[in-house]
């Protein structure tokens, strides 16, 4: 089979994932709802995953795709913990806006 990268250059993939990554970053920076912040982080990770796949095709080497699985699994675990923390916060605070988390400072 011929390499898909012959039609669309690797650069485009890189740009795409960088853009995605930045979107994720901006999401994290600008949104105040914890859930949405999580999702933005997920976007970042997925952008990276996309890039992994692209590179692995580019290098004709499966390691990259394997790595994607790692990162997905890790991301899942992370989010699980994160949500757990979020739940307990919601129990104590009744809100999930990260703006309320300003008691520790100075």
């Amino acid at each position: 089979m011929d390499n898909i990268l012959n039609q669309i250059g690797i650069e485009n993939y890189i740009f795409l994932s960088v853009v995605l990554f930045c979107i994720g970053i901006f999401g994290v920076l600008y949104r105040r709802n914890a859930i949405i912040v999580f999702m933005s982080i997920e976007i970042m990770l997925n952008a990276v995953n996309l890039l992994f796949v692209a590179f692995s095709t580019y290098h004709q080497d499966a390691q990259g795709q394997v790595f994607v699985f790692f990162s997905m699994a890790v991301a899942a675990a992370e989010v699980a913990v994160g949500l757990a923390i979020l739940v307990s916060i919601f129990r104590n605070l009744g809100s999930i806006s990260i703006d309320n988390l300003k008691n520790l400072k100075g």
Binding site: I14, F21, G24, V28, A34, V37, I41, M44, L45, A47, V48, L51, F52, F55, S56, Y58, H59, D61, Q63, G64, V66, F67, F70, S71, V74, A77, E78, V81, G82, A84, I85, L86, S88, I89, R91, N92, L93, I98, L101, N103, L104, K105
Partner: protein
């Protein structure tokens, strides 16, 4: 490798003990187990082999650092007995988590493949998230956990992206291969950028300026024991890993080939100066001891970063510095744990008159603070000495002078605590002399002083 397996096994055993309803035994068993692991690890010392086609490579560097981690964990586990007295159901979980965290740490210093590196980080971090937020009903703890989690996972994202770029540049995750390619003349720009991104991620973990903001809040919010763990074990793991990463991937030589070395060095110098200064100055006005130590930790991160200017030779110095710092930290935190057991915060006021009520603990805390401040004969002094020595060799005298000025500033807040202990009247009577805490405090400070008297022991391990 066996170390790693053994540690993981130990963790699982802890969980089993809970199921088998054998709580009493957990702590002693774990400590014994860890001692065993330590012995095992010593056996591996010197051998350099790699497992699972280079997923894990055991080297002097990894073994010596893992031994340090294991020792620290032993202390932490020992402390957790007294810490979780009041809610015994948690013991097994948290001990187990600590063990897994240790596993993550060991994985991080002995990775042979970026995948392993990433997994290690994540194991460590996730464990830390849990521990930070472990006091469910305490809002502070929750907030700490949340902050740490959000920023941590953000940092992980950065690291992942970095790894990805490295992969893109090199077409491999294997450290050996990458290090070979990295010496080739032509390198895609992605490689350095990827490396920088990974470095930034790690700098976040070791809480270097400007990625340090999480540290004070998280340290203050999380349970004292967790803070102890973060400020000693986690920090040491992170810095060691970063060191291994930069040296292992021949990053420096590759930069030299592209003659961008000075760029990198400037960044390191800047960050280390910024970390020391910000850390020390911010610490001056803190009233919460944990928070104060957080800032002092930031400044120490700045000191440790100085080793990155001489990656080729300074592994030993880094090991020595981290050991000295971590041991002092353990000693200090064991006293803090004792003093602030039933206090709702770790305000300095809690330490008033400790010199009268518990002269021994006061002396130990004083010693550990002196060690952090870099007063002879404690190992902290020699750590700084060797560090400065290294740095002056590379001609960064200005950096050293800044470091010196910073050590002067640091004395300011370390002595605030000492003053509180000795020159104020006790405001509460402190009962009970928990054996484990005393033991940990004494042993760790003794080790610290021993390191000071015989620095060569550690220093020459990696030379």
């Amino acid at each position: 490798m066996n170390t790693l397996i053994a540690i993981t096994g130990l963790g699982i055993f802890c969980l089993l003990f809970e199921i088998l309803n054998f709580r009493k035994g957990i702590i002693p068993f774990t400590i014994l187990g860890l001692l065993g692991v330590l012995a095992l690890n010593f056996c591996e010392f010197g051998s350099t082999e790699s497992y699972y086609n280079n997923m894990i490579t055991v080297s002097k560097f990894s073994t010596s650092f893992s031994s340090l981690f294991i020792i620290l964990t032993i202390f932490l586990v020992a402390l957790s007995h007294n810490f979780y007295e009041n809610h015994p159901t948690k013991i097994s979980d948290f001990v187990a988590i600590k063990i897994f965290l240790l596993a993550g740490g060991v994985a991080m210093v002995s990775f042979g493949n970026l995948a392993m590196f990433f997994l290690g980080i994540e194991i460590l971090s996730i464990a830390l998230y849990v521990l930070a937020a472990s006091e469910r009903l305490n809002l502070k703890s929750n907030e700490a956990g949340m902050k740490y989690f959000l920023m941590g996972s953000f940092a992980s994202g950065i690291i992942l992206f970095g790894i990805c770029l490295i992969y893109g540049a090199m077409g491999s995750f294997d450290v050996v291969e990458i290090s070979e390619y990295s010496l080739s003349a032509e390198l895609p720009i992605w490689f350095p950028i990827g490396m920088v991104l990974v470095t930034i991620g790690m700098l976040f973990k070791i809480a270097a300026v400007p990625f340090h903001f999480w540290a004070p809040d998280v340290y203050q919010g999380s349970p004292a024991l967790t803070t102890a763990l973060m400020s000693t074990l986690a920090k040491v793991v992170a810095i060691a890993t970063l060191f291994k990463l930069i040296s292992g991937l021949n990053f420096i030589p590759s930069l030299e080939n592209q003659d961008h070395l000075h760029t990198f060095e400037n960044i390191i110098v800047f960050i280390s100066i910024a970390s020391m200064t910000v850390g020390n100055i911010m610490a001056l006005r803190q009233v919460n001891v944990k928070r104060m130590l957080a800032f002092s930790g930031i400044s120490h991160a700045g000191f440790m970063l100085m080793t990155f200017l001489t990656v080729a030779t300074s592994a030993g110095v880094l090991l020595y510095y981290t050991a000295a710092y971590a041991l002092a930290g353990i000693a200090a935190f064991s006293v803090i744990l004792y003093v602030c057991k039933n206090q709702d915060d770790e305000d300095i006021a809690n330490f008033h008159g400790l010199g009268k009520t518990n002269p021994l603990l006061a002396a130990i805390l004083t010693a550990s603070l002196l060690s952090m401040a870099g007063i002879p004969i404690f190992s902290g002094f020699f750590a700084k000495l060797f560090l400065f020595n290294q740095t002056i060799q590379t001609g960064h005298i200005a950096l050293v002078i800044v470091a010196v000025i910073n050590s002067i500033i640091s004395v300011g807040y370390y002595f605030k605590l000492i003053l509180a202990m000795y020159s104020k009247e006790p405001n509460q009577e402190r009962t009970g002399k928990p054996f484990l805490i005393y033991a940990v405090a004494i042993i760790s400070i003794a080790l610290n002083v021993a390191l000071g008297l015989f620095p060569s022991l550690v220093l020459d391990l990696l030379n």
